[in-house]
Amino acid sequence: MAAPKTISIKLKVWRQSNPEAKGEFKTYQATDVSPHMSFLEMLDVVNGDIIKAGDDPIAFDHDCREGICGSCGAVVNGEAHGPKSQVTLCQLHMRSFNDGDEITLEPWRASAFPVVKDLVVDRSAFDRIIAAGGYISVKTGSAPDAHCLPVSKVDADAAFDAAQCIGCGACVAACPNASASLFVGAKVSQFSLLPQGQPERKSRVKKMVWQMDSEGFGNCSNAFACEAACPKGITVDFISRMNREL
C-alpha cells in the first residue's frame, strides 16, 4: 500500500502561561500534515487553528529555521530535538513520524532554564557563562597579522568542531542531571586548542566552570546523553578536555 499523502498526529503539548503558572499538558489534533513539513511548520499550522478557535497559540522559540541559530528546541517523546540524530527541531521533518502517532512535547526542563511560556525557556544562563570567560581578550584594532600565528590544521579543525555549538541547550535538556558540561566544555576546548587562547587558558576554565556551577546546572555523570542529543554532533571529548584543563 502506498504511504498516505498526509498524516494525522495527536499532540500533547506542555502549556504554561507564565513562569509562575503551574502548567499542564493539552491535547491537539494535527490533521493533513504533509510529511514534507518541518516540525515547526506543523506547529505553525496547529497554531493557526488555535488562533482561529480564539485561543492562545503555543509559544515556541524559533528563528532561522535552518538549524544554526539555536533558538528552537523541545523534548519530543522524551528526546531533545526529537528522534533524528544531529538535527534541530526546525530541521526535523514530519516524515520521521507515522500516521496516528502521539507526540508529547515538553520544554527543556532544567532549573537553570526556567520556563517562560509553554515551550519557551530562558537560556540566559548560557550567556552569563560566556560572559564569565568564553572569549579571548583582544581589543579591536590590536590584532597582529592573521598569519603571525600558524595553527596546525588538526587543532584548527578540532577547534572548529567545538566552536560549532549553537547554544540550543539540548545537552542540558537531555542530561539526566541537567548539566551544562558539553556547552562549557566545547567553548573551553575551542580556545584551549588554539594558540591565541593560551594566555587565559587556566583562568578561563576556572571562571566558566564556576559560573556554570553557580547557575544551578547539575554535575556531569558521564552518561553522554548530551552527545547523543547535540544537533551539531559535539563530542564528549570536549568535556574530557575541560576536565583536564581545570
Binding site: V75, S111, P176, D213, N219, N222, E227, T235
Partner: protein, 223 residues
C-alpha cells in the same frame, strides 16, 4: 566552603576515592582467594594482616576516609543533580546508547553496596573469629565458610557483588573521562574494559559463596 569547590573537582574527588576503593577491592579479593587454598593459608594471611599493627590501622583509616569522602561527595552531587531538574519530564527516553541507565543506577548500586558493607562487617569484622566445622574450630576460615554457605548470607553477598559489578562497569571508564584522558579513539575500548573489569571482579567475588554453597556439607572443604 563546599560550594566553592568546582563541580569537576567534586567529581574528581569521587573518582580518586573510587580508585582507592577499587584498589581495596582488588587487595581484598586476592586475600579472599586464599580460601581456595585452605584454612591454613587464609588464617595465616589474616594473622599477617593483624600483625601489621599500626600499618594496618593506617590502611584502615585511609580506607574509611576514602569511603566517607566518596559517599559524602556523591551525596552532595546527587542533591545538586536533583535540584538541577526540579520539574521532571513526563516522558523520558534514554539517549546515549542506554548508558544513562548505568548512570542512573550509580547511587542505587552505591547505596546497596554501603548497606551490604554494614552487614558484611557485622558478619565478619565485629565478631569472634571462630567457626566450627565438624566440631573443629577453623577460626576465620570456619567463620567465612559457615557464613557464606548460608544461602541468605551468601545470596546477599552475591547481590552486593553484582551491584559492585554494575557500579564498576560505569565507574572505571568514568574515572578516565573525569580526569580528562578519554577521547573518542579509546572510549569504546574503555567502555568495554570497564565492563569486563567491573563484572569480572564481581564474578570473581561471587565465585566464593557459590563455591562454598555448592560444597557445603560435602566435607570437601576441610580434610
Amino acid at each position: 566552603m563546599l560550594t566553592s569547590i568546582p563541580s569537576i573537582r567534586k567529581k574528581q574527588i569521587i573518582a580518586v576515592t573510587g580508585v582507592m576503593l577499587f584498589g581495596f577491592l582488588l587487595a581484598h579479593l586476592s586475600g579472599n582467594f586464599l580460601i581456595f587454598k585452605g584454612p591454613e593459608a587464609l588464617n595465616a594471611y589474616a594473622q599477617f594482616l593483624h600483625d601489621l599493627g599500626p600499618v594496618l590501622w593506617g590502611m584502615r583509616i585511609g580506607l574509611i576516609a576514602a569511603f566517607v569522602l566518596h559517599m559524602f561527595f556523591t551525596a552532595l552531587v546527587v542533591v545538586e543533580n536533583v535540584k538541577a531538574r526540579k520539574a521532571r519530564y513526563a516522558v523520558t527516553k534514554d539517549q546515549g546508547e542506554h548508558r544513562t541507565l548505568l548512570v542512573r543506577l550509580m547511587p542505587y548500586t552505591g547505596v546497596t553496596i554501603f548497606a551490604y558493607l554494614i552487614f558484611h562487617l557485622l558478619d565478619f569484622t565485629f565478631v569472634e573469629k571462630t567457626g566450627f566445622i565438624n566440631g573443629v574450630d577453623y577460626g576465620l576460615y570456619g567463620l567465612v565458610v559457615n557464613t557464606l554457605s548460608n544461602p541468605i548470607h551468601g545470596g546477599l553477598y552475591i547481590i552486593a557483588m553484582l551491584a559492585i559489578g554494575v557500579h564498576l562497569a560505569h565507574a572505571m571508564q568514568s574515572v578516565v573521562q573525569t580526569f580528562g584522558f578519554a577521547n573518542k579513539c579509546i572510549r569504546p575500548k574503555l567502555v568495554q574494559a570497564s565492563m569486563v573489569i567491573g563484572f569480572g571482579i564481581a564474578l570473581a567475588y561471587c565465585a566464593i559463596p557459590i563455591y562454598l554453597i555448592s560444597c557445603a556439607g560435602s566435607g570437601c572443604l576441610v580434610k
